[in-house]
Symmetry: C2
Subunit: 368 residues, 2 copies
């Protein structure tokens, strides 16, 4: 076995999910994630955890969903499984990113509604999602398989402890600040973050962070004003989306355009009232992710990027008892901030051209 | 998809497991059983069942078992899953029949002991085991993949209703009888079956039958006397076993030999006291299984064969409250009865040269 797969498994089990002897763990295995599942099973065996392995095949899900009459109901056995689990390790990595493309939206939504309690039980565990590099994901990224594997392990096998420490500096600045301003190209956007708490997303449940890789600091902004252009290309709901431009007034999108996928953006904005407001401001800090691969799990953590999500805010960012932006969607869009850009907190530049103020080469400068 | 896979799935879901709308079903998927899993998911979706799919990879199990320190404990989440399940569909079909060959016996036994309650919970459901034809199983059978697939579907896609009806005739004869005598080649064996109940194993939970394919009638014999030669070749515990010969006195094996694997037989007989007695007399009646494939799920149901198991008897064959032969093993051995053979119940020939008395070509004959 490629030693990197074993390292990936150990990072997942130890750093991310903090598995201990006797933990009841569910390992969810995608169609292409067999090798990682073997390595994870070895790591879990060594630590003396108890394991149930589920098969999360998209082709199996497609067949089931398309055949079902539509009156989905809660699965008591599935609920019992997750209610009795301490942790869930989701090993993504399919064989076709469009495997469920012909399942209609109503069916998905009906199944998701019936599945609500199961989903909540999963989210109540120490869950972590990761991805095993497959040829399908390499194809999605426009990369050869070998190069894609190097890319994934470069993103996953970080010195997480030291990145967590660096990210805590940014978290402190955001927690202390009231207003963020992002300036780059034709983007000039201000958001309030007063009273909100940033999450140091260091790829570990110990940091309230449930993705491996992670490497971002995010918070829940409000009262957004100004314009932003998202110049990082993406696929959203199966559609190519390019150069989305949004104009905010009083916290809401009042105008928009896109070089590609404008209709997809229109549909998103029409989902509900919350879909026109931001739910997340995230700052990518994983420099192991050095290129766009059209996979949000990686793209949004890329160093030298900032992402904003339309829709739902994360509870971890909100004061206890306060509800943030509510919406059925949470769709991330990404801005490249590597050149000609600055990020300000209460008027102080904390990042310029992708360099943070504590990094070598940071230009304190003087801005108009 | 090959239409036979779909037919296999429907036979499993409808005839074997009798799945109904709202049933909570666990589908266990072996490494090579993906295609059957897709077809089963489609059938379960159509019927409106709720599904959890587990990944029963032998490579995952091997990695886990070899890495574990050995102090296995019950998995509460796994127990909860099965305690809340109505049915378990086990889709076998691996990629290497020796995938777990380097897991030591003590580890297996320790894991099995810790797993006892989970196993009991599974057995308390409407469970059915079947097998998807894989290249590994074709290799084990000494057959090409295509020919093996034809063989498997020939065994699985029977007219089960009419076979169940035919088998009920044999069950009636055995239930009414007190003594069975098997004569062929240098085999001449008598067994008591007085008070025992035969199982019409028609591949359906409705018949207390949990294998697909099935097609045998079996009961629990005792007070065995005489000699038997098992001329159907087998692999037992990874060892080739050929032409096992056993001599019984007062129900116990008192002498044995084998042309190959004699040591394996010796080990089996030494397991415990019950290992020297018979736990099962089974009569294969599935004529879709027309050759030996070194897979007990198929071989023991082959038409024109009789099998005897050393070790544990099945409760379904015993009068309520009576315990049959007890043992940690249940190992089947098979006799070809296609030629020069007869099976008698209380002195009446019920089968000769593989033909039952109700079949055309049956020779009532006159035996010494």
């Amino acid at each position: 076995m490629d030693e990197r797969i074993r390292d990936h498994a150990e990072t997942l089990v130890d750093w991310s999910a903090r598995i201990e002897s006797g933990d009841d763990v569910v390992v969810s295995v995608a169609e292409g994630a067999h090798e990682l599942a073997v390595a994870v099973a070895e790591a879990l065996g060594e630590r003396g955890a108890n394991v149930v392995t589920t098969y999360d095949s998209e082709e199996v899900a497609r067949a089931y969903l398309r055949a079902h009459p539509g009156d989905f109901e809660a699965s008591e056995h599935e609920l019992a499984l997750y209610e009795n689990a301490d942790a869930v390790l989701v090993l993504g990595g399919g064989r076709n990113t469009f495997a469920t493309a012909d399942v209609d939206g109503d069916t998905r939504q009906a199944a998701a509604r019936a599945n609500r309690r199961v989903r909540e039980a999963r989210l109540a565990t120490d869950w972590v999602s990761t991805v095993h590099p497959t040829r399908s994901l390499a194809q999605q990224a426009g990369m050869s398989y070998e190069t894609y594997r190097e890319f994934v392990y470069g993103a996953v096998l970080r010195d997480w402890e030291s990145l967590a420490e660096e990210m805590s500096r940014l978290k402190e600045l955001l927690d202390a600040g009231s207003e963020v301003r992002l300036v780059t190209g034709d983007t000039d956007l201000t958001m309030s973050i007063a009273g909100r708490t940033a999450v140091n997303s260091a790829a570990s449940v110990a940091y309230d962070s449930h993705n491996l890789p992670s490497g971002e600091v995010f918070t829940a902004p409000f009262d957004t004003e100004g314009e932003v252009r998202f110049d990082v290309p993406m696929t959203i709901a199966g559609a190519r989306v390019r150069d989305v431009w949004l104009r905010f007034e009083d916290g809401e999108v009042v105008d928009y355009s896109a070089a590609a996928g404008e209709e997809t953006i229109a549909d998103l904005l029409d989902t509900d009232a919350g879909a026109r407001r931001l739910g997340e401001l995230g700052i990518g800090m994983n420099r192991g992710i050095d290129r766009v691969t059209d996979n949000i799990l990686f793209d949004e953590k890329m160093g030298d990027t900032v992402h904003l999500a339309l829709g739902r805010a994360y509870d971890a960012c909100l004061p206890a008892g306060e509800s943030g932006n509510d919406s059925a969607i949470h769709t991330d869009l990404i801005v490249d901030v590597s050149e000609g850009s600055r990020l300000e907190v209460d008027g102080d530049v904390i990042q310029r051209d992708g360099r943070f103020r504590w990094e070598e080469g940071f230009d304190a400068g003087a801005d108009a």
